[in-house]
């Protein structure tokens, strides 16, 4: 399968890339990892007239934490870098859990977190993770840079708010106010398949008390579901069997699953409840962690 005919540019700087997008108008697409865009172009679901390949733009392949703990993931940071990241392992358990579950190992060599957010597939794993963490996407265009919270970034299936001449240059995860805990669990029929159900949980604790919580769901609705009511049920008190059970029930209620070849709606809802319980149940109280 071939994509339709298009012009191709491989700029060497961000400014150059933005200029090309500006001139290319509505028919230009940014190519980063290409693991979603190239298949879409081959299937002719996307037929851009201009493809701006940013793979030769230096300085976009980073992921790093500021001294205050704010995490930045550059537009060319591949999934594999996040999978192997010591930084995430020590300090960002939700992302560390999700990275090895994205697509398959070969796709992870090319695909990027930022690209996945831009692609806005309702079954994308990273969108749930970034939603649970309250992250945002930084866009850069001819009029400067702006940060867009993830909730407002994705406007629908495969749609985002980027202007035609803007590039998503990084994703930002805010610093934790307490100690971070959480995880990501994904039910898939085989490696590389889309999630039958995915659940991202991120909590911050201070002492025994949960100070912030985020829960987001993959694959059980028309888009990523922010199960904020479930997360709110955790905040303010310690993690107990009761609070975990309540959050799991609320998350299952927030799910909007449909019966399809991956499973029945009832089964998927059940798995949401199970995954929320499982992730939260694995979090040890702060004192035990310190001991």
């Amino acid at each position: 399968m071939y994509p339709s005919r298009f012009r191709y540019e491989a700029p060497r700087s961000l400014d150059e890339a933005i200029g090309m997008l500006h001139d290319g108008g509505d028919y230009a697409k940014v190519l980063a990892g290409g693991q979603s865009l190239v298949p879409l172009m081959k299937l002719r679901f996307a037929s851009p007239e201009l493809v701006v390949d940013i793979n030769n733009v230096p300085g976009l392949d980073y992921h790093r934490a500021d001294p205050d703990g704010t995490l930045h993931v550059g537009a060319l940071c591949r999934h594999v870098e996040l999978e192997r990241s010591e930084l995430l392992k020590t300090y960002q358990p939700t992302m560390a859990a999700a990275a090895p579950l994205i697509a398959d190992p070969i796709v992870r060599n090319r695909g990027t977190l930022v690209g996945s957010l831009c692609h806005a597939d309702p079954q994308g794993d990273w969108a749930s993770v970034v939603t649970a963490l309250g992250g945002s996407v930084v866009a850069q265009g001819p009029r400067g840079r702006r940060a867009i919270p993830i909730a407002g970034f994705v406007t629908g299936p495969f749609q985002n708010v980027l202007e035609p001449d803007e590039i998503a240059v990084e994703a930002v995860i805010p610093a934790a106010k307490g100690e971070r805990a959480g995880g990501y669990l994904k039910l898939e029929r085989r490696v590389g398949d889309f999630a039958t159900v995915g659940v991202a949980v991120a909590v911050e604790t201070s002492g025994e008390r949960v100070t912030r919580a985020g829960i987001a769901l993959t694959g059980v609705g028309g888009s990523t579901i922010d199960a904020s009511a479930a997360a709110d049920a955790l905040v303010g008190g310690p993690l107990t069997a009761d609070s975990i059970g309540r959050a799991a029930d609320l998350a299952a209620e927030a799910a909007r699953p449909r019966t399809d070849h991956r499973g029945s709606a009832e089964y998927k809802r059940h798995m949401v409840r199970t995954f929320v319980t499982r992730i939260l149940g694995r979090i040890e109280p702060a004192q035990e962690r310190a001991a």
């Binding site: 191709y8 290409g34 190239v38 298949p39 190992p105 070969i106 060599n109 090319r110 590389g192």
Partner: protein, 188 residues
């Protein structure tokens, strides 16, 4: 060298956006003129005539078309699904295909088999053989990084490659066989 492009009838022939790229394949430097929509897999199979790289699903699932691509400044090539990369994207990069394995082992084409190829032979790692080139290239990348993988490591590294004969057991054994052969202590 003859280059043929599809005439879509709706544009002047001069408007076909051709790009000249330089790359190396299995150690050999090349220049190619390609349309941007040409896939890497097609450049390899049709442009270069290296048909060892197979096209299976053409939808980024099966991994039969896996080749190694190494960018400037990278220590070793990473496996990529060549049906999901544009040929123009390898400009300035180094590609290794399954044909490059034997060359690496022997210093010339058609020479001594690479330990991975030997391993697949010894452990019956192929049945129909269609997925084999992709399996070998994914395995090559694993062994380059981790010379002493566990069975679990091998299964993880090959989890993006499908074998329709479901001969996974022997594929994993083959890779472990190659790993053992490649380790320095087995040299004597």
């Amino acid at each position: 060298m003859t280059v043929v492009y599809e005439d879509l009838g709706d544009e002047a022939e001069g408007a076909v956006p051709i790009r000249r790229i330089r790359f190396s394949i299995n150690g050999k430097k090349m220049i190619a003129e390609v349309e941007p929509r040409l896939l890497l897999s097609h450049l390899i199979r049709r442009g270069l005539g290296l048909t060892g790289t197979h096209m299976g699903c053409d939808t980024t699932n099966c991994g039969a078309c896996t080749v190694l691509v190494k960018g400037a400044g990278e220590a070793s090539g990473r496996p990529v699904k060549s049906c999901t990369m544009l040929a123009v994207q390898v400009d300035g990069r180094e590609i290794t295909t399954v044909e490059g394995l034997a060359m690496e082992g022997a210093g010339g084409p058609g020479g001594v088999l690479h330990p991975l190829q030997e391993g697949f032979k010894e452990e019956h790692g192929l049945q129909c053989g269609f997925c084999t080139p992709g399996m070998m290239m994914a395995a090559k990348a694993l062994l380059d990084e981790n010379p002493d993988p566990t069975e679990e490591d091998v299964r993880w590294a090959l989890s993006g490659n499908l074998c329709r004969c479901t001969g996974y057991q022997n594929i994993v054994k083959s890779v472990l066989w190659a790993a053992a052969k490649l380790r320095p202590e087995s040299a004597g």
